[in-house]
């Protein structure tokens, strides 16, 4: 099995679903190991690679190194760990990675974020784009929703996770309470899909339809279904959901509310 040298210690590279070594997410300088990743960019690249390689230990140790060097913690997350998660998302979309790999990449990212989080300087909470996310009532299948959440989080969106089996009214109430203007709803079953329509109907009934963007996704859901229920958007997978959220937040920003598109 290939060995990757990072910061003078070695981490085993896992084998990809295709049986080959995982593709190099972000090429390190050929002499990065010998150099000890002296530059900031090299360190951030190694952090990204640790995430893509699903290597929690490396992610944490490299994050500790970023703290030791007094690099900006937010920048380390944004330019290091998040870049790795973006790459993992692309590999997922290209069917190089599957659900297990994506979950372990998220674990590796979390390991780094845990180290860096206490060192993040004050963040302008008002400037973050908030999204309310949940599985519609009657449905407890939440792995798709969880994948969307981790991809949105890693892209810098603030996700208010309502969990599974969520009543349509709750989506709207919680979005209003949190000041979130994007509502993302997941469903895996045709029996529960109609609950998504209820969210749209209740928004209309309350005179709030123009104030929120509603996006839908899940196994049986499609663009045609989204069109039928009057949702604003449909996402076929977790990685696409990030681009979708970015687009919707840009559209919201266009109406003068100043919403931001995560880190995208």
């Amino acid at each position: 099995m290939a060995k990757i040298e990072c910061l003078h210690y070695e981490a085993e590279a896992p084998v990809s679903p295709g049986g080959q070594d995982y593709p190099r997410a972000l090429d390190l300088p050929p002499d990065a190991g010998r150099m000890g990743l002296e530059g900031k960019e090299s360190l951030f690249q190694a952090m990204a690679k640790a995430v893509v390689d699903m290597d929690e230990d490396s992610s944490a140790r490299l994050s500790e190194e970023a703290v030791r060097r007094r690099y900006d913690a937010f920048e380390a997350i944004d330019q290091g760990l998040t870049k790795g998660m973006e790459q993992a998302g692309r590999l997922f979309e290209e069917e190089e990675y599957f659900v297990p790999e994506l979950l372990l990449c998220a674990d590796a990212m979390d390991a780094g974020v845990e180290v860096l989080k206490p060192h993040i300087k004050k963040v302008d909470e008002e400037a973050k784009c908030r999204i309310v996310l949940g599985v519609i009532s009657g449905d407890t299948h939440d792995i798709g929703k969880n994948l969307v959440k981790l991809m949105l989080n890693s892209a810098g969106f603030e996700v208010i996770d309502l969990g599974r089996d969520v009543d349509p009214e709750i989506f709207i109430d919680r979005a209003q309470e949190a000041g979130a203007r994007i509502i993302m709803i997941s469903s895996l079953m045709t029996t529960t899909m109609e609950g998504m329509l209820d969210v749209v109907k209740i928004l209309k009934k309350r005179g709030l339809r123009d104030q929120f963007k509603v996006a839908v996704g899940g196994g049986p859901v499609s663009q045609a279904f989204a069109d039928r229920i009057g949702a604003d958007a449909y996402s076929p997978n977790a990685n696409h959901a990030v681009r979708l959220a970015a687009r919707l937040s840009v559209e919201l920003a266009g109406d003068g509310t100043g919403e931001l598109a995560g880190n995208l």
């Binding site: 069917e95 990675y97 297990p100 407890t140 045709t190 029996t191 899909m193 045609a224």
Partner: protein, 346 residues
């Protein structure tokens, strides 16, 4: 030909009068008899029998399919959530370690498994249905595959992570599940089942890679199917979800019928597996059967049949299990259109 003869002939690539059709109609049955698809229904053999017979009268497809999945989940100690009117769902994990698997294994004595109240209810249903339909219509008993059941015991996210980090746990659990399935199979064949089938979406490429599938799921899916085959029943395997990346592996299970989601072109699958395995599937359960109408469904079936190269070795079937809110008229249309377009096919 009688329905059962048609199904058996298609499964063995022998001449058929028309392409058989499996409507996946069971979830719509309880409503027909004033019941809901819930826990009490799965414990009531008289209700399950009435429901299936009422559906067969209305839909008139070529199979009666009984659902062993709730029983098997109960046997394995899954903590389920029972919706008001739908299939049971995962509630909470019961397995997180090898010790948990060992504890489960210790409690799975064959005599206890067969006495499970859900198993007993389904065995009684199988006997009752067989008594009514005799040899006219094929009788299928269907259950989840090893990964679907493992996900009900571990939780899907934990299972997914475990495929890369706790392989021994996944192997041991899948082996135990496959053994339990195989142990139950002869009882259902004795009760009258002609077809034993498994569906396993959680080991499909919608979740895991082809490599992990080959290493961790395929051996146990094969163990189950081969165990089913030893009973003399026709076997059917449904790798539910985006199956093209594993299409080179699914035949290794040895299943007589490979049943694909609508994401696989039925005509392509038929050519790939010609005269080795029959194939089933083709019909889009959401756009055609849930959202569609008579015109859309008819066009869907016409297109599927038009593209097929062979009249035998194929069964028309919705690409996935259906929920109880699919209109029965849509299933009737699917059956009628299949007969209409396949009858005169050469």
């Amino acid at each position: 030909m009688l329905s059962k003869q048609r199904v058996m002939a298609a499964a063995r690539w022998k001449e058929v009068d028309q392409i058989p059709i499996f409507a996946n109609k069971s979830p719509m049955g309880p409503k027909l008899i004033g019941r809901k698809l819930n826990r009490a229904f799965f414990l009531d053999d008289a209700a399950m029998t009435s429901s299936e017979m009422a559906l067969l009268d209305l839909v008139d497809d070529d199979v009666v399919c009984l659902n062993l999945a709730p029983a098997l989940q109960d046997v394995l100690g899954a903590r389920l959530v029972w919706p008001d009117n739908d299939h049971p769902q995962f509630g909470a994990p019961t397995i997180s370690s090898l010790a948990d698997v060992q504890e489960l294994a210790d409690g799975l004595e064959p005599s206890r498994v067969i006495q499970n109240e859900f198993v007993q209810a389904l065995l009684a249903t199988t006997r009752a249905v067989k008594k009514i339909i005799g040899e006219t219509v094929a009788l299928e008993v269907n259950c989840y595959g090893v990964f679907n059941l493992a996900a009900r015991l571990m939780g899907l996210e934990r299972l997914m992570g475990a495929t890369l980090r706790q392989k021994a746990l996944v192997h041991r659990l899948c082996d135990l599940i496959a053994g339990t399935q195989v142990g139950l199979a002869p009882h259902f064949v004795d009760a009258g089942a002609d077809i034993l089938s498994i569906g396993d979406g959680m080991s499909s490429p919608a979740c895991i890679s082809p490599r992990v599938y080959g290493e961790m799921a395929l051996p146990y899916l094969t163990q189950t199917i081969q165990g089913f085959r030893r009973t003399g029943a026709i076997t059917l395997y449904h790798p539910c979800g985006g199956e093209y990346p594993i299409i080179d592996q699914v035949g290794q299970t040895g299943a007589d019928i490979l049943y694909f989601s609508e994401l696989v072109d039925l005509d392509v699958a038929q050519k790939i597996f010609a005269r080795r395995h029959a194939v089933a599937g083709g019909v889009d359960p959401v756009h055609s059967l849930f959202m569609g109408d008579e015109r859309i469904i008819d066009a869907n079936i016409k297109q599927i049949i038009k593209k097929l190269k062979y009249k035998s070795g194929v069964i028309i079937q919705p690409g996935c299990g259906l929920s109880p809110n699919i209109p029965i008229i849509n299933l009737q249309t699917m059956v009628k259109s299949t007969r209409k377009y396949s009858k005169n096919m050469q």
